[in-house]
C-alpha cells in the first residue's frame, strides 16, 4: 500500500467504472420489474423485521469485547486533545455509548443522534454548554469565586456559547464535556453550516468529541482546516457488524414502498373510509381512465356532468369538496390537457387501478 499507491489505484478506479458501465449498457439489461416479486405486504414485513434472526451473535459479541481493550487508549487520546472518529461497517452506537458510560465517567457525556432527519444544532450546543456549566460548578472549590451566569444559556447566541465552552474556567485543562455524535455524516448534520458549527464546538478547550461515520464519502464533508485544526481526528477502524437498527429506523423498506400493489392498497384503505358517494365519484373517474388509457385525463367539466347525471353530486361545490379530499390523499392529480384544459387523472398503473376497483366494490 505504501509504494504503488498512487497511479495504479487511480487507473483502477476509472477502469472499474467503465467496466461496470459497459456491463450495464451492452449486456442485455434485465427489464424485470420489482412488482414481479410476490411481495409480502408491509405489515407482515414489519412484523418479520422485528423477529429477524441475527447471524454471528457470538462472534460479534467477542469482537465488541475485543475493542474494550482499546478504551484506555481512547481515553488517553481524548485527554491529549484529540477527537475520535470511528468508522467501519456496522452500527457503532452501542459500542461508543458503552465506551462513554464505562470509561468516561469522570466527565459529562452528551449524545447527538445524527442519523435523525432534523436536529436543531443550537439546542444541542445549548445542552452541551449547560452540561459543562453543571460540571464546572461541582468541580469548583467553595472558595473559588465563580461568575454567575448572567443570561440563561438558551437565550445566548451561538458565538457566546462557543466562547463559554472555549474559555479558561479551570486552571488545569482536565475539565471537559464529551460530545458523542452518532453519524456525524447523518442526514440531520450533513449541511455545511452545521458541520462548521460542529467543528467549532470540537475546537473548544472544554470539549472532546467522539463521532462515528458510516458513509464511505463522509470525509468530503470537511476541509483541511476542520480536519487538522478543529476536529483533530484520530481515526479508528472499528467494524462491528451490529445491525443498523436505530440508524435505519426512518429508511423506508425498499420492497414495501413504491410498488404498485402497495399504493393501490393504501388507496383502497383511504377510499373505504369515504362516503359511498365519494367512492362513486372516484369510480367514475377510474372507469373513464380505464376506458381511455391513452388520454391525458378527464376534464373536470365532464366529470361534473356525469356525476350530476348519476345523482352523485348536486353542485360543483360538493364535487370540489370530494376532489379536494382525493387530492389531499394523493388519489388523483391534475395536469394540463394539450388544449389547455385542466384534467384529472389517477396516478396508478392500469392493473393497479383494476385491482383497486375490485377491492372497493367488494
Amino acid at each position: 500500500m505504501e509504494g504503488n499507491y498512487g497511479e495504479d489505484e487511480e487507473f483502477g478506479f476509472a477502469r472499474n467504472y467503465f467496466i461496470a458501465k459497459e456491463l450495464g449498457g451492452s449486456g442485455k439489461k434485465s427489464s424485470r420489474k420489482l412488482s414481479d416479486i410476490e411481495l409480502v405486504d408491509e405489515q407482515e414485513l414489519r412484523a418479520a423485521a422485528r423477529s429477524i434472526e441475527s447471524k454471528h451473535e457470538k462472534e460479534i459479541a467477542s469482537l465488541l469485547n475485543s475493542y474494550k481493550s482499546l478504551y484506555p487508549k481512547w481515553v488517553f487520546e481524548l485527554r491529549c486533545g484529540f477527537g475520535l472518529l470511528m468508522y467501519g461497517f456496522g452500527s457503532k452506537k452501542a459500542l461508543i455509548e458503552d465506551f462513554a458510560s464505562t470509561a468516561l465517567t469522570e466527565c459529562a457525556v452528551v449524545v447527538i443522534n445524527g442519523y435523525l432527519q432534523s436536529i436543531n444544532i443550537k439546542q444541542a450546543v445549548t445542552a452541551i454548554a449547560e452540561a459543562l456549566w453543571d460540571q464546572l460548578k461541582t468541580r469548583r472549590t467553595p472558595s473559588g469565586d465563580f461568575p454567575k451566569v448572567q443570561q440563561p444559556f438558551n437565550s445566548r447566541s451561538m458565538d457566546d456559547l462557543l466562547a463559554f465552552m472555549d474559555g479558561s474556567h479551570s486552571e488545569k485543562n482536565d475539565c471537559f464535556v464529551c460530545v458523542v455524535i452518532h453519524n456525524i455524516d447523518g442526514p440531520g448534520l450533513r449541511d455545511s453550516d452545521t458541520q462548521q458549527y460542529l467543528a467549532r464546538v470540537a475546537a473548544c478547550s472544554h470539549i472532546r468529541m467522539v463521532a462515528s461515520i458510516d458513509h464511505v464519502n463522509a470525509p468530503l464533508l470537511w476541509d483541511k482546516k476542520m480536519v487538522h485544526t478543529q476536529f483533530n481526528w484520530c481515526w479508528y477502524h472499528v467494524a462491528t457488524f451490529v445491525p443498523y437498527k436505530a440508524e435505519g429506523i426512518f429508511h423506508p423498506l425498499i420492497l414495501a414502498h413504491g410498488g404498485t400493489a402497495q399504493s393501490a392498497k393504501t388507496a383502497a384503505i383511504v377510499l373505504q373510509s369515504l362516503t359511498p358517494n365519494a367512492q362513486s365519484v372516484f369510480k367514475v373517474l377510474a372507469e373513464h381512465q380505464l376506458a381511455h388509457p391513452d388520454e391525458e385525463g378527464m376534464p373536470v367539466n365532464n366529470l361534473y356532468s356525469i356525476c350530476r347525471e348519476r345523482f352523485l353530486v348536486s353542485s360543483q361545490i360538493t364535487l370540489n369538496s370530494h376532489l379536494t379530499e382525493f387530492k389531499d390523499h394523493e388519489l388523483i392529480k391534475t395536469r394540463r390537457h394539450s388544449d389547455g384544459q385542466d384534467c384529472l387523472y389517477i396516478p396508478l398503473a392500469t392493473e393497479a387501478l383494476e385491482k383497486l376497483l375490485q377491492d372497493i366494490s367488494q
Binding site: 461496470a20 420489482l34 423485521a49 488517553f76 458513509h215
Partner: protein, 729 residues
C-alpha cells in the same frame, strides 16, 4: 449493552448520557492536586515524594504510571509545540516587523491627511476628496495554496501587532459568507473590538467606540486570512463600507493571498479596487518553514523524542505525494502530535523519557532513581529487542541508567553530524527533510567498525532490502551528494562551511578538535592568499600561484570530505541501532498511518467483502469465494452486487439473494435436524413466513448499504434499479 431506556433515547435528537460522577471527580481533583504539588516542589523533594508513593504502592501501579505517562506527554508535546511556534515566529519575524512599520506609516499618513479626526467626531463626515476614502491595504502573499498552514501565521501576526499597540481583529472567510452577508463580518468585528454581541450590528457603533474611548490614537487593523475564499460581493460591500467611514474609523486592512497579484482583481470589481491603497508583503516559502521545523524538532531533538526510519519515510512520502514542495506543516505538527500520543500510550517505558531528557545531569538523576524501578519494568526494558543481544549484562537499574545516558550521547552525535551534512548540502540545495530521512535508516555504515550494535536494528533481511531500495530510488544518496559537494567547494565557501561546523560541533569534542585542526590547516596553508581570496578573486596575479593554491585547496577539500565521511561512518549512529531506543523512538508506521488517515471508502467495502477476517467465525471461513448462506446478509448482498453493472435490477438482485440464502447445502442440514412430519405440516405457513423473512432481510441489507453510501436508491425515472456508487476498492 443497550438498556431499555436507550430505545427512547434513540429518537431524541440529543440527550445527556450521564453527568460527571461527583465521587470520581473528587478523587480526580485530589489527584491533580497531587500533581500540582509535585510540580511546585523542588525537583529533589518531588523525587522523594514519588519514591514514597512507589514505595507504598509496592507493586507496578498502573494508575500511577498512567499519570506519569500523561505528564510525560504534556511535557514533550508542550516542548515540541512551543519549539515549533518559536521557529515559525522567528521565520516570520522580519515580515511581521515590516508589516508593523507599514501599519505605523499608514496610520501617520492617515493622521496627517486629516486634522480631520477631531472634527470628524462631531458629525457624519462628508468627504469629497477621494484620497480620504482610500483604505491602506496590505496584501500578504503566502506562496502556499494550503491555507491551513497560514492560519497560525495570521494569528501570530495579529498578536504581534496587538503587542505593539494596535487594535486588531482577525476575520476569516467564514465571516464573509453569502449567507450572513455584511452583518456577519460586522458582528465579528464588534465582538472582537468591543467584546459585545449585538444582533443589529452597525458600523456606527464601531465608530463611536473608536472616537469615545480614547482609542483613536491607535491604528485599527483588520486581518482577513484567506481573501480568495471570501464571498466576493460581501467583501466588496465591506470594503466600500469601510472606505465610506474611513475618516471616522481609519481601518488598515491586511489580507492573505495564496495565489498571485491578480487575486484581488479577480474577486473585486474595479469600483472597489480603486478604494484600496495596496502594499505587498512576502512570507517565507513552505519548504523553508518545513526545513526549519525538521531541524528544530527532529534533528536537534528538542524533546528527546525521535522517529524511526520507516516513519520518517512515510512522512516524507506523504508530503511529496500530497502537495509536492508545498508542504503543510500543520500536518507535520499533527504527525508529531499523534506520534507522541500513540507512542506514549503504547510504550510503558516512555514516561522515562521525560526524566531522561529534562534533567541536565541525567547521570546523577539516574543513579538516584534507578533503584526505584520495579522489577517488572526492568525486565521489560531488558527484554526490548534492541537489548536482547546483551544477555550477559546484568539486569540492574544502574546498567539501564548507563545505557540510557549513552543513548542520549550517541543521539547528540548523530544530530550534530546531520546538521553538519545539512550545512554542506545547503550549497547543493539539498533539503533537510531528505537528508534526515536518509540519516535515520539503520544500516548506514554497515561496513564500518561501529556496527557492533547493528544486529539489533536490522535483524531481518526484509528491512535490509527496503533500505536498499530506498537508496537506489534516490539515485545517489543525499549524504553522498553532500559529501561530494564538500569536495567541489571553492575555498571561500569551504572556509565558511568549516566555520559553521566548528560552531555545530562544539559539544562533541572529538569532532570539534578535528574540525579545528582542519581550520588551522586552511588558515596556515592559505594564510596569505585566503585574505586575498576573500576580498578580490580576479586580482590574483600569476597563474602559477593560482594553480598552486588551487591544488592546495583541493587537498583541503579532500580532507574535509574525508572528515565528513569519517564522521558519518563513526559517529552518525541512527537511533534504531542503539540499545533501548524503543523508549524514545517511535517506529510503528502502520499505527501512525491508520490513526492519521482513515480510509472509509476502502475499509468499509473490505469489511463487507472480507468480513470473515474480522469476525473470525468458523462457519464462513471457507477459503473458496463461494457465497454461503451463513454469511452476513449485507455481505451477501454486496458481494452479489459486484456482479452487476452500474445499475442493479432489484428483481434480479433479490432473486439471487433469495437463492443464495436458500442454498441447498445448509437447507439439507436443517432438514436433518427437524422431523419430516412436523416439517410438512407447517410448510405452507413457514414458506410464507420465510418469504417474509427473506424479503425483510433483503430490505434491511439494502438499507444498510444505503447508510454506508454504497448504493443510490431507485429514482422516479428508474423505479426498478438501484445504482452502484463505488467501483473497486
Amino acid at each position: 449493552m443497550a438498556t431499555p431506556d436507550h430505545a427512547e433515547n434513540d429518537l431524541q435528537p440529543f440527550f445527556v448520557l450521564h453527568k460527571a460522577l461527583v465521587q470520581k471527580s473528587v478523587r480526580k481533583s485530589s489527584g491533580s492536586r497531587k500533581i500540582r504539588r509535585r510540580i511546585e516542589l523542588s525537583p529533589i523533594s518531588a523525587k522523594n515524594a514519588e519514591k514514597m508513593e512507589i514505595g507504598t504502592g509496592e507493586e507496578w501501579d498502573d494508575h500511577h504510571y498512567e499519570h506519569l505517562r500523561m505528564e510525560a506527554f504534556n511535557f514533550v508535546w508542550s516542548k515540541i509545540e512551543s519549539t515549533i511556534k518559536d521557529v515559525l515566529r522567528n521565520i516570520n519575524l522580519n515580515v511581521f516587523n515590516e508589516i508593523h512599520r507599514w501599519v505605523c506609516e499608514s496610520f501617520d499618513a492617515i493622521k496627517s491627511c486629516g486634522t480631520t479626526l477631531t472634527k470628524a467626531t462631531h458629525s457624519y463626515p462628508i468627504v469629497t476628496d477621494a484620497t480620504f476614502r482610500q483604505l491602506f491595504t496590505g496584501l500578504v502573499f503566502t506562496k502556499n495554496m494550503e491555507f491551513v498552514d497560514d492560519l497560525m501565521t495570521f494569528e501570530e501576526l495579529g498578536l504581534h501587532l496587538k503587542s505593539h499597540g494596535c487594535h486588531v481583529a482577525n476575520l476569516s472567510s467564514i465571516d464573509f459568507s453569502a449567507n450572513n452577508g455584511i452583518g456577519g463580518c460586522l458582528r465579528s468585528l464588534l465582538r472582537q473590538f468591543l467584546m459585545v454581541t449585538l444582533d443589529a450590528a452597525d458600523i456606527s457603533i464601531l465608530a463611536s467606540w473608536y472616537s469615545d474611548q480614547g482609542n483613536y490614537n491607535k491604528p485599527v487593523v483588520v486581518i482577513i486570512d484567506d481573501m480568495e475564499r471570501c464571498c466576493g460581493s460581501v467583501l466588496s460591500d465591506f470594503i466600500l463600507m469601510l472606505s465610506e467611514w474611513a475618516v471616522k474609523v481609519p481601518v488598515i486592512l491586511i489580507m492573505g493571498v495564496a495565489t498571485t497579484l491578480d487575486a484581488p482583481r479577480n474577486i473585486l470589481p474595479s469600483n472597489v479596487l480603486q478604494h484600496l491603497h495596496v502594499s505587498k508583503f512576502l512570507l517565507g516559502s513552505p519548504s523553508e518553514r518545513m526545513d526549519a521545523i525538521v531541524e528544530a524538532v527532529l534533528v536537534r531533538l528538542c524533546s528527546g523524542f525521535c522517529v524511526g526510519y520507516k516513519v520518517a519515510a512515510f512522512m516524507r512520502n506523504y508530503f511529496l505525494r500530497q502537495d509536492g514542495t508545498l508542504t503543510s506543516f500543520i500536518r507535520a505538527l499533527k504527525w508529531f502530535q499523534i506520534a507522541c500520543v500513540v507512542h506514549f500510550s503504547s510504550e510503558p517505558l516512555s514516561f522515562m523519557l521525560k526524566a531522561l531528557f529534562v534533567e541536565e545531569n541525567s547521570q546523577g538523576f539516574w543513579s538516584e532513581e534507578h533503584a526505584l524501578f520495579p522489577e517488572e519494568m526492568l525486565k521489560y526494558a531488558f527484554d526490548l529487542p534492541s537489548c536482547r543481544r546483551n544477555n550477559t549484562e546484568e539486569r540492574t537499574g544502574e546498567n539501564l541508567a548507563h545505557d540510557l545516558s549513552e543513548l542520549k550521547r550517541l543521539q547528540k552525535c548523530w544530530s550534530t553530524i546531520v546538521l553538519c551534512l545539512y550545512e554542506a548540502g545547503k550549497y547543493n540545495k539539498i533539503q533537510l527533510l531528505d537528508l534526515f530521512c536518509e540519516a535515520v535508516v539503520p544500516c548506514l555504515g554497515n561496513s564500518t567498525a561501529s556496527n557492533h550494535h547493528l544486529g539489533s536494528g536490522i535483524s531481518s533481511s526484509s528491512d535490509h532490502s527496503i533500505h536498499h531500495q530506498y537508496l537506489i530510488s534516490e539515485k545517489c544518496s543525499f549524504i553522498c551528494q553532500a559529501i561530494r559537494k564538500v569536495r567541489d567547494l571553492p575555498v571561500v565557501l569551504l572556509y565558511q562551511l568549516l566555520k559553521s561546523w566548528e560552531k555545530l560541533t562544539e559539544d562533541v569534542i572529538e569532532i570539534h578538535d578535528k574540525v579545528k585542526e582542519l581550520q588551522s590547516l586552511l588558515k596556515f596553508e592559505n594564510g596569505k592568499s585566503l585574505k586575498q581570496d576573500l576580498t578580490n578573486i580576479p586580482k590574483r596575479h600569476t597563474s602559477r600561484s593560482h594553480l598552486n593554491m588551487d591544488k592546495d585547496s583541493k587537498v583541503l577539500n579532500e580532507k574535509a570530505a574525508r572528515l565528513m565521511e569519517t564522521m558519518v561512518r563513526d559517529y552518525m549512529q541512527p537511533v534504531e541501532c542503539i540499545p533501548f531506543h524503543e523508549i524514545v523512538c517511535f517506529k510503528n508506521v502502520d499505527k501512525l498511518q491508520s490513526a492519521l488517515m482513515g480510509d472509509p471508502r476502502r475499509r468499509i467495502q473490505l469489511d463487507l467483502l472480507e468480513f470473515q477476517k474480522i469476525l473470525l467465525c468458523s462457519c464462513c471461513s471457507n477459503s473458496s469465494k463461494a457465497i454461503l448462506p451463513s454469511m452476513h446478509n449485507t455481505s451477501i448482498l454486496y458481494t452479489l452486487a459486484q456482479e452487476h453493472g452500474d445499475l442493479i435490477n432489484l428483481h434480479d438482485w433479490y432473486q439471487s439473494f433469495k437463492s443464495t440464502v436458500f442454498q441447498p447445502s445448509t437447507k439439507g442440514k436443517h432438514k436433518l435436524k427437524q422431523s419430516p412430519a412436523k416439517k410438512r405440516k407447517d410448510t405452507n405457513e413457514s414458506q410464507n413466513q420465510s418469504e417474509a423473512s427473506i424479503q425483510v432481510r433483503f430490505c434491511r441489507a439494502v438499507t444498510e448499504l444505503q447508510i454506508t453510501g454504497l448504493l443510490r436508491m431507485p429514482s422516479k425515472r428508474r423505479p426498478d434499479y438501484v445504482q452502484r456508487v463505488a467501483f473497486g476498492l
